[in-house]
């Protein structure tokens, strides 16, 4: 059985969130997008009140993550997601302004699936997002661990 993928977007900048959403829609992806403006709310949603992540068991998720959040760093969120048995199978796309190679390396080491730098060159950005959308539409998120 295939379940529609829910896109979780953790992005504090509303403008960025809007641009990302628009470009995703433009590429023809119509999956549900749930946005969070800060890390705390996103963690609450992902891990539930008890922090175990059980609430997301069996849900197919795709997480878009910004590294610069007002209340915590995206790196922390990434690590916790990848350490949680219910969430670790969900693909994480890091979308951020940092193009520091150290930071990129760290994200990949922590298990991030795709790292996209938000370039000011809008065309590139839009293309990257659209390609990401195409990528979403073909991936089959593996069922979460039983």
């Amino acid at each position: 059985m295939t379940q529609p993928v829910t896109i979780i977007m953790i992005e504090d900048d509303e403008g960025h969130a809007r641009l990302i959403e628009r470009n995703i829609r433009r590429s023809g992806v119509n999956n549900e997008i749930v946005s969070f403006k800060n890390g705390t709310d996103a963690m609450q949603h992902l891990f539930g009140a008890d922090g175990s992540g059980l609430v997301q068991k069996g849900n197919a998720l795709l997480i878009l993550l910004d590294l610069n959040l007002p209340d915590m760093t995206g790196i922390d969120i990434l690590r916790q997601i990848k350490e949680n048995k219910y969430l670790k199978a969900s693909p994480v796309v890091v979308l951020t302004t940092t193009d520091d190679s150290q930071e990129i390396k760290r994200c990949y080491e922590l298990g991030c699936n795709v790292y996209i730098t938000k370039p000011v060159n809008y065309e590139n950005f839009a293309n990257a997002i659209r390609q990401l959308g195409l990528f979403f539409s073909v991936i089959q998120v593996p069922p979460a661990a039983p």
């Binding site: 900048d13 403008g15 960025h16 302004t97 000011v120 060159n121 809008y122 950005f125």
Partner: protein, 486 residues
Amino acid sequence: MLTVISAGSVYLVNKAREDSKWVIHTIEVENQVNALLLEVRRAESALRGYLLTLGPEFQTDYEKAVAAIVPALDRVRRLSGDNAAQRESTEKLSAAIETRLGQFARELDAIKQGQPDMAMALARQAAAEGTTTTIGNVAVAMIGEEERLLRLRTANADRSQTLAASMTGIGSGLVVLLALISIWLVRRSALARDEAENRLREAYANLESVVSERTADLREANDEIQRFAYIVSHDLRSPLVNIMGFTSELDELGNDIFRRIGSLAQVPADGPTLAPAGPGEIALEGADKQLSEDFSEALGFIKSSIAKMDRLISAILNLTREGRREFQPVKIATSELIEAIVSTLAHQTAEAQAEIHLEPLPNVVSDRLALEQIFSNLIDNAIKYLKPGVPGEIRIRGRTKLGYAIFEISDNGRGIDARDHQRIFELFRRAGTQDKPGQGIGLAHVRALVRRLGGTMSVSSELNAGSTFTITLPIAWNVSNRNADR
């Protein structure tokens, strides 16, 4: 002080000795007077004995006594010469004795001439005259006087001795006191010195801690600036992404709007039955065209400004990233490193019709990436800013001096005005004709790198006469140098 005391002591001791001498003198006078008196008596009794017995032993005795009287009298006279009263008494005494001796002599003559009666009468007469008594009286007076003097002089001598003794005592006391005072003074100054030494040591330690504190402060300030630059450039980027993104959105919206205006404007002319033309094919006319062009122009300026701002922010980010990168000192064959750079720039070199001459260069221990960036920036600049129409000639030389390697990169390019020699090393500042792309970052970056490698750099150049950039780097740079720098 001590001198005064010593002088006083010496004086007093001398005085005591003098007094003692006087005491002895007095006793001597007394003795002599007594001896004289004794001799007179002896003469008298011997004469009497002779008169009574006519024994020759008495005569001899008498003569011996008389012989002794005169020197004794002389001694008395000599000894008592210092005292006027005694001299007078002595004269009286000697007169009486002479009289008495005269009487004796007459008596003796009388005896010798066998007139004992007459001698006896003479003796009686002499007794009646009381010469002997006078002699005795004078002698007793003299002795009394001498005894008075003795008492006086003894008292004097005692006083002098007591004074001398007390003077010596006071002197000793003063010496002990002075010794104590000097010991105290020495101890006090030693204490003061120790305290001063302690203070000095404290001040030194304090100075050291102040220096390290300042160094720490500077280091912290530097780190703070780095972090600040990093965060600012980072956070500036976020809104820029929005500006650029929505400007592009606006651009598309604008296209849509003007396309629609175009299609609406054409409707009345072509009739409603006609299908709308394909996108972008509708030609706007008149005022509409003008509006569309203005709109595109405005958006174009916004976009190019955003792109410029993004480049500046990226440059700052790169600079701060360079500032945070850990340097690794390795042995570097400088000639090979520069040859590699020259070969990567071969295309630009050929395009600029330039030639690069590489002279033998000293090897150094330094950070490879930093050196690559330094030299490629400088060589790239040399190629970039050649004089138009003149074949370029770029020369790279090297030598060593006092533990430093000195590299020179000279060209025959357009040169730099002396006024701009400082400015070209500043971030985002450029000099000369602005006909080449660039952000004004290269030299600022190069200088920052050279400084971090413990070196210095300078430029010597004249407008239209080429430039020479000189880099001085330590031959054996190590991490501790850098830690000291940071």
